[in-house]
Amino acid sequence: MHLVYPAVLAALLFSVGLYGVLARRNAILVLMSVELMLNAVNLNLVAFDVWLRDTLHAGQALTLFVVTVAAAEIGIGLAIVLLVFRSRGTADVDRLTDLADRTPPGAGDQADTGTAATGRGRAA
């Protein structure tokens, strides 16, 4: 079998997962997309392992590890999403913007006074 087939499939799957991570609004769907990306990597690992006939089977072992880590990740991720949902009532990633640089009220005149005022405004 040509190595190109699994490799290209993995690349395409990865890109699809990438799109999902960047485009989906619901945090759980983002997690699903992450799974897609991880699986694309897994496919690569397996394909190259088979191709190289590695005596240690590092590719397959690593695939198993990735699967495990992905399982752990999905558990923790879901727990976090649930926690966020419980405290905020939403799981939409584009509404979790507390780290945004919000301009404090009256920033128009404070902008002239420089960074000190900005720091104060942010602290307030």
Partner: protein
């Protein structure tokens, strides 16, 4: 042994000053002994040194503390007749001032620092006098400058004192800069800062540019000794306490310049130009200041201008190459001017004002301060150079030297210089006698025949809570410390002329005794001045009628307080062209020309009176020539700084701020946006890497 004693002389007041500054607040009880005792001791030591060195050869001692590069700076003492005598004068006057101050400033809260600064001042002057090294001399010279700044600004609560202290400092520094350059030029030529070495070089003709060096040094001397055109700080320095004026004027600061020229006279003699300049300066200073003195209303300003004039005599004597006469006049002048200032302090204390016009309305001033009256009479007679008093002998020695030069007996000094000094000296003798008489008449012979009516309203200008006078209280007599120092100083003022015969042994050996011609002419001029003034006074009095009603001033306030008040009010007085009756607080009704009408100075000076009051508008000239351009330049610099330089700075700040605003916009808080940017960047980098590879 002598050298050790001599080293102790400046050291003692210095230690006293340091101790006083350190412990003044902690141990107020020790301040007075700490101020007086070291100064008196060093005066006594100076007398001992003077007696030991005396007429013998000069003693020199030097020690090099540390290598100082190409031209060594030695801690050197040079003791000869000039130095030891001047040191005695400094010590005696400083002692008197310290003793006097214990009474004069007895309630001043800043007395500890004041006394310490006076000690430091004394120490610096003694250092200047004894120093055998120009650099060490310069140290003392500059310490005096800063001390004068502090002491003149003693009443820093008042604006005139503040500006006067600044003016004194800046103007003297203006002279000190060329002076420093001159000192360096001297040292560069001579290869040493030692005065002896420099003098040897000068005599051997080793100086490259004697004229330039002499003129540079003259600038410093003019600043320090208040010679035209840098004399303007001295009258303003009257804002300081009276004892400080006495100290600055009689023995220390102003004498330093004259003393320095006396020490370095061979350098000055190398250049005729310098001597001519010196003579012209002396003549202008003498005459101008004497005329100004005749017009002043403030008793201390009269004395200040008279100091400038007497210093003019000294520089005149130096211009005709007679440093013996100059130093002789320095000594007698130190004695009688200190006496006059201290006496004026007592009078101001008693009268509660600085103004002669107001004093002239007081009839009982003479009876209230008899000590001041008698001693000041002696001092004024000495100032006017009337025969048996000390001033006569010293002034005659100056005139004699000038005459000697005028007749062309000196090969170094052109006769024109001699004539200039001689004529100016004679005319000034007349004016000096005139203003001395005026001062005496206005201060002590003022008022009507008798106080017709009971004490009118007290003229206390701005009664502070501390200085509320009690009208019923009898005037308190001055403290003994103030009265006895007057008599102590009156002694040399009266009798220093006796030393005329002995002094040449201390100096260069030339005789100092007066010649018949100059004595007769000089005394005649002085008597003419006295009589003219008396006549003018009589006629002025006759015109104003029986004279203004007398005013008794209740005086229980501290002298220094009264003076501080007087300084505070003088600004308003000085603001007017002439103190009109409205300015003098107790304007008595029914005296149309006012108390000022009895001023003979106005009659004598005629049209010159108005400019003379203002020191011939020299301050205004300086203001127009120097101060205003500087202020304009400062404004320009401020404009450039605010609008141009700061514009760049603001622009430099603005660009990052705009960039920052743009970047802030990217800070949306949306993780996906961040990730998109991150991954897009990663892809681009990967592509670039692939393409680049």
């Amino acid at each position: 042994m002598t050298v050790t004693l001599a080293a102790l002389v400046p050291l003692l007041p210095f230690l006293a000053a340091v101790t006083g500054l350190l412990t003044g607040r902690l141990a107020p009880g020790y301040v007075r002994p700490l101020a007086v005792l070291p100064t008196v001791t060093s005066a006594a030591l100076a007398a001992v040194v003077c007696a030991r060195v005396g007429t013998g050869p000069a003693e020199t001692a030097a020690t090099e503390l540390t290598p100082t590069g190409s031209v060594p700076v030695d801690l050197a003492l040079h003791l000869d007749g000039f130095a030891t005598l001047a040191a005695v004068l400094v010590g005696v006057v400083a002692s008197c001032v310290q003793i006097y101050s214990t009474g004069y400033l007895r309630d001043d809260p800043r007395y500890p620092s004041y006394a310490a600064l006076v000690s430091l001042f004394t120490s610096a002057m003694l250092l200047v006098v004894y120093s055998g090294d120009l650099m060490v001399l310069l140290v003392g010279w500059e310490i005096m400058g800063i001390c004068s700044y502090f002491l003149v600004g003693h009443y820093w609560e008042t604006a005139p004192a503040r500006s006067a202290s600044l003016k004194a400092f800046v103007v003297t520094k203006l002279g000190d800069v060329p002076f420093l350059i001159g000192v360096f030029a001297l040292a560069a030529d001579a290869g040493t800062f030692r005065i002896n070495g420099i003098l040897t070089t000068a005599v051997n003709g080793g100086l490259e540019h004697p004229t330039l060096v002499g003129l540079l040094l003259l600038a410093g001397v003019a600043g320090k000794s208040a010679q035209f055109p840098l004399h303007t700080w001295l009258p303003d320095a009257m804002a300081g306490p009276t004892p400080v004026s006495a100290l600055i004027h009689a023995a220390t600061m102003v004498a330093a310049g004259v003393y320095l020229v006396a020490r370095l006279l061979p350098v000055f003699l190398l250049s005729t130009t310098v001597l001519v300049v010196l003579a012209v300066l002396a003549a202008v200073t003498m005459l101008g200041s004497a005329l100004c003195a005749l017009a002043q209303d403030d008793i201390k300003r009269v004395l200040a201008y008279s100091t400038i004039g007497q210093l003019g005599y000294m520089t005149g004597a130096l211009a005709v190459a007679d440093r013996g006469a100059a130093t002789f006049h320095l000594l007698t002048h130190g004695a009688f001017k200190a006496l006059l200032f201290l006496g004026a302090g007592v009078v101001i204390h008693a009268a509660g004002t600085n103004s002669l016009a107001v004093m002239s309305t007081m009839s009982d001033l003479r009876d209230r301060v008899p000590d001041a009256f008698w001693t000041m009479t002696i001092g004024l007679l000495a100032l006017s150079a009337i025969f048996p008093f000390s001033g006569f002998f010293s002034k005659e020695s100056v005139l004699r030297a000038a005459e000697h030069a005028a007749e062309g007996h000196l090969d170094r000094v052109p006769s024109g210089v001699g004539w200039t000094v001689l004529v100016a000296g004679l005319v000034t003798a007349l004016v000096t006698a005139a203003y001395a008489t005026r001062l005496w008449l206005l201060a002590f012979r003022g008022g009507g025949p008798a106080p017709a009516h009971p004490p009118t309203t007290p003229p206390s200008p701005v009664p502070t809570d501390e200085a509320v006078p009690d009208p019923a209280h009898q005037p308190a007599p001055e403290p003994a410390a103030m009265r006895w120092t007057l008599w102590l100083l009156a002694l040399p003022a009266l009798a220093l002329g006796v030393a005329t015969g002995a002094l040449p042994d201390y100096f260069d050996g030339g005789t100092l005794s007066p010649t018949l011609t100059t004595s007769v002419v000089g005394s005649g001029m002085a008597l003419t001045g006295v009589l003219l003034t008396y006549g003018a006074w009589r006629s002025a009095q006759a015109r104003t009628g029986a004279g203004a009603p007398a005013v008794t001033t209740p005086q229980d306030t501290d002298a220094a307080t009264a003076e501080a008040l007087a300084i505070g009010t003088r600004q308003t007085v000085a603001a007017q062209t002439v103190p009109t009756p409205a300015d003098t607080p107790p304007a008595p009704p029914g005296a149309p020309p006012g108390p000022d009408g009895t001023d003979p100075g106005r009659l004598l000076l005629g049209p010159l009176h108005r400019p003379a009051v203002h020191g011939f508008h020299l301050d205004a000239l300086y203001h127009a020539v120097a101060v205003r351009p500087v202020l304009a330049a400062a404004r320009l610099v401020r404009f450039l700084d605010r609008e141009v330089v700061e514009g760049y700075v603001r622009g430099a700040g603005l660009a990052p701020r705009l960039l920052g605003a743009a970047v802030r916009r990217a800070q949306t808080g949306n993780v996906q946006t961040y990730l998109s940017a991150l991954l897009a960047g990663a892809v681009i980098l990967a592509v670039l890497a692939a393409v680049g590879a």
